[in-house]
Subunit: 559 residues, 2 copies
């Protein structure tokens, strides 16, 4: 057997290693057009930021070590320029010698990844404008910062990699500005969670332009001028373009393989392309989103690695294992904050026509009485019919990654919010509370699902009319420190004694800091003749983040 | 409706709060024989250790605040001394005034907790010998340490609370000795994981006596003499007895309620005792272990809190929600190390006659190239028939709690190791690796289940005979730094070229540091005519911990 693999990083190297373990005697050739194989793409921003100081650490394997350990013929600096599926050959071009040759295969695996988008803007070819995908890009960026003694950076694109780059450049002492075309950073998140991140970023003195775009670049004496759609012009010593990537489907398309609706290489459930002898994995492929059923692409290392293993199984043992798709679980550290998502965001559920309810809660990372607890926000989206969990988004610090992973595992297997309620976490004071944040998210979702809790959302406060009542049940001190315009204050512990101040005829919109006291107030009122009572999901805290980030803020914030 | 609750901490207070939310107009009385309600039992060791410095933080609610918020009649310092299920009354005794009176109930909830065991040893009544269960115990201990300027502590019992106390006393600067009757600390763990903990404890200069017991205490000039079964006598200024707790079933038994086989109050799946108007929750009850089917008791705050919520639901809405039992997920910080378990340990599965396979892996808390990654050990036990996950044990540092929680959620819903393989974790360098430790545990378990990996265990190395071969596939440097007696060294990367040094007729027992290279070696050999090849589960690292902790160590360790 002769296996050929194109691309020697996350998907390709994983496939190759598993192939060898399953088939000691096959011939395995792996082609890599770059100089390096098996490197840690995900570590590149941190190497630039000098969080990772040893460059060698970026390489999990080298061509030599990979060959030694796995007896794999690694051909670096060799680009595959064509595939002939009829003859079952690939054409390879040695980037150093210029040699062009063919190799035959029994089975071929494509893992060419995705390429960063570099739009044809005026001046894009100027020095100092970079994209980041591989080790060479990294080396260039690092050298450039050093030699130019860069002081000002503009990061174009507020996605995961853009934010990582912003954090790392900020860590190096550069003055950083982020430009994002959308109305929020981190597109896979819904607005409220993005708002939390944005508030955090701004609080650290990083400049953030939303709803804006770069129209071009100009070389100036000192460096670069970055022109924005808004008319603003920013100075920069260095520009990082992180406006997205695109599946690299060139080889596949050239070979006549099917390209799917999501613009990735089409594969079936066995990761087999439209040609049965050619498999594909990683950033370049598309598959069915297990929640929406729509075609999707992930740009994530976890799925790429796992697909590699499945792909190897199917090649050696003959389509034995189905790939069940990815729910796009992703996380990023943003200036010390941890932010992530699993499943399909509410806005995308909406777009796909999937009925769902959103609920937001806020909990400590561990017991409040034990030092160091930090608040985290959890937003879940679930089916109002059967409680199936569609999405979870988390923003916080310590322990936020833990809750995201637990929620991801529930979403992955089509679990419901009952699993959040019953989830049995490991509790001791340094790790959690007697009720974990995941349980709390579940309790609240269950209360909503069963009609015990009626909620309204931060962006509905402006619909509260003259005839309605907005009720703040926090303490007078909290109220004085800032409230939603129009709200009256009756602290929760006084509510039973002051119900005569309220009219049962009105809609009552309650809020507290995070939602708990508002819920208690609602329980009291609804059992006391008040029928139309709503509690603000996520509370004042979330409302404040969101309204602060809403430019067209029509609601009065009184501080 | 009139609800009476006995015990106002984890189980009782949770029941009361939820009762109020569901039923605003019921009369709710809660009796607590102690001075405080709703306190953080779990924080007590840390308050003694001055990790928690503010005593007020131990109280989640006070009698007054609980009354204000929930309109609940809280009667502290009032012990319920009897229940008359026929008359539906309880007899209460005010501990301050001595007043005795009756109250009637419609529904009664028992949450009296468990009491620490204090065996009738000679001298047990001496000053300075404490158990720890509540705030008063804590205050006594704290004062005693301070006034006696205690320098030496003996902790009797190496369970969770014993270890927390040992850590906290050590943190205060005391010289700490732990005495444990069993052959390991932390009885819910299997020996290998306990061995890791023990090695860690010893490395910090804490004295640990295993297989030993206290036979009595004597008052000495300076303090106490603690006599051990071994004949040793230890000096101590203070002794903490943490040898276990027992469900407090006195009231229940007195009322003629059924006490179960596990010595807890018997409840059905609705947390209803043998009397339909009396429910019970918390440390005092027993239920069916969802894995073994045997009666079990948990002494954990998470289950107590969750049972309280379910119990209230069933009382108000009429047995609507089943309690599905607890899988005993527990965690503890031991001198900075994180150790925990979920499900049923291998030794207990064995005792229950449940066929299972154990596998141990070791992974970094996050990507190795990103600073600060720490190794953690994961042991899983699963069904060799269908892969159902029965148990997970984790020991490590950062991120160990996360993996335990994920594994717990799989065990909880009777999941299989396939879920570990497919688990989609949130990956960025500070949080995990492209393959999470949970995935890794799954991959290895799957390989074992499907016969791709044959393993042997650390305690089987002494069965390796003259005709067998013990093969160390680590590097020469690693080998020289310490190997298992009798092993020859062929580094994995040389194996393909040196197979002629091995005989296909022999059983070959391979090991490496943690298991990965041994697995690769096995894959090579088994596909090259070697049929009887085994890989050491957990590798040299686990073996070394275990043998170091095995007194009757018959295997030569060469260093
Ligand atoms: C800066 C950065 C940070 C990231 N951070 C994270 C993160 O934190 N978490 C996460 O999950 N993911 C992260 N990712 C994404 C992750 O790295 C990718 O999802 C993953 O590497 C995809 O694997 P792949 O094998 O499909 O592609 P790649 O890893 O990109 O490998 C494709 C390889 O194929 C080679 N190639 C392409 N065409 C040819 C050809 N014709 N001939 C020969 N060779 C060819 C390319 O040179 C390339 O080396 C990050 C990516 C980047 C760039
Ligand atoms: C030091 C310590 C550390 C712990 N650490 C952890 C941990 O890290 N994680 C974890 O999960 N669990 C931990 N636990 C266990 C946890 O605290 C218990 O599982 C939980 O509190 C049990 O709740 P409960 O309501 O059953 O009992 P308790 O919380 O003990 O409450 C029972 C209450 O009932 C009262 N009572 C009893 N009889 C009567 C009566 N007749 N009349 C009136 N009142 C009565 C008692 O005074 C007591 O206050 C710890 C326990 C201790 C002591
Ligand atoms: C490293 C790389 C070459 C893949 O190699 P790999 O051998 O599949 O992966 P690992 O080294 O993690 O080893 C995993 C294997 O070891 C096995 N293993 C791990 N621990 C083990 C243990 N204790 N005992 C036995 N086997 C063990 C696993 O079962 C798995 O084997 P399997 O797939 O046959 O079941 C590839 O992932 C790579 O190039 N990674 C870097 C690039 C990248 O991913 N970039 C993006 C992220 S930054
Ligand atoms: C605090 C105590 C009285 C219980 O009170 P509780 O009100 O049930 O618990 P919490 O304060 O955590 O609140 C949980 C409730 O708030 C709701 N809630 C939490 N966040 C919310 C939000 N953002 N929006 C709406 N509701 C919210 C939950 O749904 C839950 O209500 P439900 O059970 O009706 O669904 C009790 O747990 C106790 O005494 N604890 C301390 C003792 C103890 O546990 N010791 C052992 C561990 S150290």
């Amino acid at each position: 057997m002769r296996y050929i693999i194109i691309g020697a990083v996350a998907g390709g190297a994983s496939t190759a290693a598993r192939l060898r373990r399953l088939d000691e005697h096959a011939e395995i050739i792996i082609f890599e057009k770059g100089e390096y194989i098996s490197y840690a793409n995900c570590g590149l921003p941190y190497y630039i930021g000098e969080v990772i100081t040893d460059r060698n650490k970026l390489f999990v394997q080298t061509a030599a070590s990979f060959n030694q350990r796995f007896n794999i013929d690694v051909r670096v600096l060799t680009e595959v320029t064509g595939i002939d599926p009829g003859k079952k050959t690939v054409t390879a071009e040695n980037q150093v010698t210029g040699d062009v040759y063919e190799e035959t295969y029994d089975k071929l695996v494509l893992s060419p990844g995705a390429g960063p988008i570099r739009p044809p803007l005026p001046g894009i070819g100027n020095d100092g404008i970079f994209t980041l995908r591989n080790v060479s890009d990294t080396d260039y960026i690092k050298k450039y910062i050093y030699h130019k003694q860069a002081k000002k950076a503009v990061v174009v694109g507020g996605g995961f990699i853009g934010l990582e780059m912003a954090e790392n450049l900020h860590g190096l002492g550069l003055d950083v500005t982020i430009i994002e075309m959308g109305n929020q950073v981190m597109a896979p998140l819904d607005f409220p969670l993005a708002a939390i991140v944005q508030q955090h970023i701004r609080s650290l003195g990083v400049h953030l332009y939303l709803n804006n775009a770069v129209t071009g670049f100009e070389q100036t004496d000192g460096g670069l001028a970055v022109n924005l759609k808004s008319g603003d012009v920013l100075d920069a010593d260095i520009v990082i373009l992180s406006i997205g990537v695109r599946p690299d489907t060139r080889l596949a398309a050239g070979a006549g393989l099917k390209i799917g609706e999501g613009r990735g290489i089409y594969v079936n459930e066995y990761l087999q392309t439209s040609n049965p002898d050619i498999y594909a994995v990683g950033d370049a492929i598309e598959f069915e989103n297990p929640i929406t059923g729509q075609a999707m692409v992930t740009y994530l290392a976890g799925p790429a690695n796992k697909q590699g293993r499945i792909c190897a199984n199917n090649i050696v043992m003959g389509n034995v294992q189905q790939y069940h798709g990815s729910i796009n679980t992703a996380i990023v550290q943003v200036f010390g904050m941890t932010v992530g998502t699993a499943g399909t965001a509410s806005k995308h559920l909406k777009a796909a026509g999937i009925k769902h309810t959103v609920s937001t809660t806020s909990s400590g990372s561990h017991a409040g009485y034990f030092p160091g607890a930090k608040q985290m926000t959890i937003q879940v989206a679930f089916s109002p019919d059967n409680g199936r969990l569609y999405n979870a988004q988390v923003a916080g610090f310590d322990g936020a990654d833990k809750r995201l992973d637990i929620l991801s595992s529930v979403i992955k297997r089509n679990g419901t919010i009952d699993e959040l309620v019953e989830f049995e976490h490991a509790y001791a004071p340094p790790y959690s509370s007697a009720k974990d944040p995941v349980n709390m998210a579940g309790f609240v979702a269950e209360n909503i699902l069963l009609g015990r809790l009626n909620i309204f959302y931060w962006d509905e406060t402006n619909k509260i009319g003259e005839d309605d009542l907005l009720l703040d049940v926090r303490s007078p001190e909290e109220y004085r420190a800032g409230y939603i315009g129009g709200a009256i204050n009756i602290p929760i512990d006084e509510l039973r004694g002051r119900m005569d101040e309220l009219s049962t005829q009105k809609n009552i919109y309650i809020y507290c800091e995070a939602g708990l006291r508002g819920y208690l107030a609602q329980r009291i009122l609804r059992q006391s003749g008040f029928n139309n009572v709503y509690n603000l999901s996520g509370g004042y805290r979330l409302w404040k983040n969101c309204t602060a980030e809403t430019e067209q803020n029509t609601i009065e914030v009184v501080c």
